[in-house]
Subunit: 405 residues, 2 copies
C-alpha cells in the first residue's frame, strides 16, 4: 500500500477547513462538520487499505492487521469533536498524528506483528450534550450515554443514529472492535507549561479529576422600575453573588483547583424585567479527589444558604471524573525513547480531561503532549509550532514501533 | 351606533388569548400576536363607526368626531406591545379601558362636542429592539426610531413596514393625526403601593427618569482545565464582579434608585471554556435626574477601572428618559372626580416609564393607576382585581366627559 509521508499538516488543514476559520472549529458531535471529518478519515483509511470499522456511537477505527499476533492490538488516537468555537489541534492532532505515525511505520517497515489501530472517538468535550467521553465510554463498555438533549432540544440518540447512517458505505464494517492491550494518546498540552519550559514533549503522569455542575436559581420575575430594591427576588443577582462566593471558596481550598463558570442563561433575559430564573455551570478540576469532595460539599452548603424562601437553588452534578494515574511502564519507555530521539521533554499532569482517562480502565494507557503557544486552547487562537507537531508524531511512531514490531 | 356596555374584561381576554397563557403575553412590537391585537382593535373601532387611522409606526387611532369643535381632541390610551413573557394588563388595560370609556360615553350622551380619541401606541417597552416609546415618539414628532435590529438580526424598519401593511384595509386611513389638547393614560401601577394602601385609584404626580446601558466585557476565551486561575482573563468573572460593585454603588446613592441587570449574554457560553466575552444591560431609574447622573458617572469610572489590559470594558447608553412632572390641573380635576365617585385614591410617582412621558411634551397629560396584586408586573402572574379594573374606567370616563362634552 503506497503511503505519502508527511501529510500531517495537509490533513489537519483539510478537516479544519470544514469549519469557518473566522469563528474557529465547530465540529460538535454528530453535526455536519463532524460527519465530514469522520468521513474524510474513513476515505484516507480505505485509500490506504486499512480495515475500517464504525461503532454505534460514531467512533471510527482504522486497523492495520498484524501478521503474527493480529489479536493483540496496539492503539493510538483521540477525538474528532471540538468545543464551540474551538481550535485546530484539540483532539484532531491525536487522530491525524496517529494515522500519520501508523502509515509512516507501514511504509518503512511493512506489516506489523501486532495490529496497529487508529481510533477517532466520536465525542469527548461534552460541549453539545450534557455528557463527556461518550465515545470512549461506549468503546470500553463503561457506559452508553443516552436520553439527553442539546440546548436546542435535539435528542442525543436520534441525531446519533442519523449521523452514523451517513458514515456507512462499502468497505466500512459496523461494530465495536475488541479492546487493545495499550493506548497512546497524542495531544496538545492546552496549557502554558511546556512552552514556558521550552520543551517539545510532555510525558503525562496523571489526569486531573473533574466535576461539572449546573446550578439553577429560581427567583421571581418582576418589573425593573416599580419593584423596590428591598422587595426583589432577583435570580441573576443571587446567581452573581453565588458565583463570587464559590470562586472565593475554590481559591481558598487550593491554588491548583480550577473553577470556571462557562455557561450562564437568564430568563426572560430582557433589560426591563427582573430575572426570574438563572442557570449556570461550574467546571472544577484537581489531581486530588479530596479537594474536589471538599469543594462539592461547600457548593451544596452555599447553595442551601442562598435558598431563602421564595428563592429556590438547585445543584445538579452531571460530570464526576476521578483523577487518573497513567501507566508508569509506558511512561518510562517513552522517556527513554524521547532521550534516544534527542527531544527535550518534561513530565507533567494534565489539567484537561482526555479519552485516556476512560481507556486507562481497560488498557495500559499513556499520553504524549506537545506545547500550546501561550497555553491558549479551546479558542480559535489555539496554536502549536510545526516542528513540535512533528516531534510528537516522531515519538509516537517510535513507541508504536517498539510495541507492534 | 349600538354599544354593548361592560365589554372590558371580554375584550381584554380576546386579545390576551392571542398569546399562550402558560408563558404569558408576548406581543412584541410587529410580531404576529401584536398584529392580531391591533387588527382586533381596528375591527371594534370600525364596527362601532369610529374613524380609524394607522400611522407609519403602527399606532392605531380610533376617533369619535366632535360635533362643535372637532379640531379639539381629548385623547386617552396606552400601548399594545408587551415585554417577553409579560402580563395581561400592562398597556392593554389602558387601550381597552379607554375604548370602553369612550363607547360608554357615546352610548349614554351621544356625540361629544370635542373629538374623543383612543390611541393604541405601537411600542413602549423596548423589549424587542433597543429603543423605547417608538410609537409615541413618532406621533409627537419627537423622534423617528430607525436603523436598529432585534437579537435575531431583524431590521426594525423592514419588519415595521411588513407589519403595518397587514393593518391596512377598507375603512382604515393611513396617516398621522393632529396632536390632542390633553392625554389621559389609564394603566396598572405595576408596583405594590396601591394594594398595600388598599386604594383603588392612583393619581400620578410624576414619572421617574430612566437610563439603560449595555456593558460589554472582552476578555480571553481559554481552556477551563489547563489555564491557571492566576493566568485568566475571564469575561464572566469580571462581569460578575462589576455587577456586584455597581449594585452596591446604586444602593449607596439612593434607596429609591432602582438597579436591574435584566439581560446577560456569554460567549462562547459552553461549560468547559473560560468566557471570552460577556454583555449585560443595566436599567436604572429615579425621580431625580441628579441621582441618575451620579450613577452614570460612577458606572463609567468603575468600567474604566475594570479595563486592565488585555481586558476591555465598553459602556453604551441607549435609553436616557428624563423624569417628568405630569399636569397639575388635570391631577386636581381627577382628584375631585375621584372624591365625587367615592373612590379611595392616593397620589404617587410612577416607577415605570410610560407613553405619557412623551405625550406630556405636546399635550396636558395625566395618568390614572389601578392596583397590581402583590405589585407583580412584567410577568405572567400580573393581576388586577375586577372591581379595580372597572373603577379605573369609571374615573377615566368621568374625566373624558368633563373635558369633551
Amino acid at each position: 500500500m503506497p503511503i505519502k509521508t508527511d501529510q500531517l499538516e495537509d490533513r489537519l488543514a483539510t478537516i479544519n477547513h470544514f469549519s469557518n476559520h473566522e469563528i474557529g472549529q465547530n465540529r460538535l458531535v454528530y453535526s455536519s462538520t463532524w460527519i465530514k471529518g469522520q468521513n474524510q478519515l474513513i476515505d484516507w483509511g480505505l485509500a490506504s487499505g486499512m480495515t475500517v470499522t464504525v461503532d454505534a456511537y460514531g467512533t471510527v477505527y482504522l486497523d492495520v492487521i498484524g501478521s503474527t499476533v493480529p489479536q493483540d492490538v496496539i492503539a493510538t488516537g483521540s477525538h474528532m469533536d471540538t468545543v464551540v468555537h474551538g481550535g485546530p489541534y484539540d483532539g484532531l492532532y491525536g487522530v491525524i498524528g496517529g494515522l500519520q505515525a501508523i502509515q509512516n511505520l507501514v511504509s518503512r517497515f511493512g506489516q506489523p506483528k501486532k495490529t496497529l489501530r487508529l481510533i477517532s472517538f466520536s465525542e469527548e468535550e461534552g460541549s453539545r450534550f450534557p455528557a463527556t467521553f461518550s465515545g470512549s465510554k461506549h468503546y470500553t463498555g463503561f457506559e452508553d450515554v443516552t436520553g439527553i438533549q442539546d440546548q436546542a432540544g435535539n435528542d442525543f440518540d436520534a441525531v446519533r443514529k442519523v449521523a452514523i447512517a451517513k458514515l456507512n458505505r462499502n468497505g466500512v464494517t459496523a461494530g465495536r472492535p475488541t479492546l487493545p492491550e495499550s493506548f497512546t494518546e497524542l495531544h496538545i498540552e492546552q496549557g502554558p507549561q511546556l512552552s514556558e519550559a521550552a520543551c517539545q514533549i510532555g510525558l503525562v503522569t496523571a489526569i486531573v479529576g473533574q466535576r461539572r455542575f449546573t446550578v439553577t436559581v429560581n427567583g421571581i420575575a418582576n418589573h425593573a422600575g416599580t419593584t423596590p430594591m428591598s422587595d426583589r427576588h432577583d435570580a441573576l443577582q443571587i446567581a452573581v453573588t453565588l458565583i463570587n462566593q464559590l470562586r472565593t471558596e475554590a481559591l481558598a481550598l487550593s491554588k491548583k483547583l480550577t473553577f470556571t463558570v462557562g455557561e450562564l442563561h437568564v430568563w426572560p433575559n430582557t433589560s426591563n424585567v427582573i430575572p426570574g430564573k438563572v442557570t449556570f455551570t461550574i467546571d472544577t478540576r484537581h489531581v486530588d479527589e479530596r479537594i474536589l469532595n471538599r469543594f462539592e460539599n461547600r457548593l451544596k452548603t452555599v447553595a442551601e444558604q442562598a435558598a431563602i424562601s421564595p428563592v429556590k437553588v438547585a445543584v445538579n452534578r452531571w460530570v464526576a471524573d476521578q483523577p487518573v494515574q497513567l501507566d508508569s511502564t509506558m511512561l518510562a519507555q517513552n522517556e527513554r525513547l524521547a532521550q534516544k530521539l534527542g527531544l527535550a521533554y518534561q513530565k507533567l499532569a494534565s489539567g484537561a480531561g482526555h479519552d485516556s482517562e476512560i481507556m486507562s480502565r481497560v488498557a495500559k494507557t499513556t499520553m504524549i503532549f506537545v506545547p500550546s503557544i501561550n497555553g491558549i486552547s479551546h479558542a480559535p487562537q489555539e496554536k502549536t509550532a510545526s516542528p513540535d507537531l512533528h516531534a510528537g508524531v516522531r515519538l509516537l511512531q517510535a513507541s508504536l514501533k517498539q510495541q507492534a514490531y
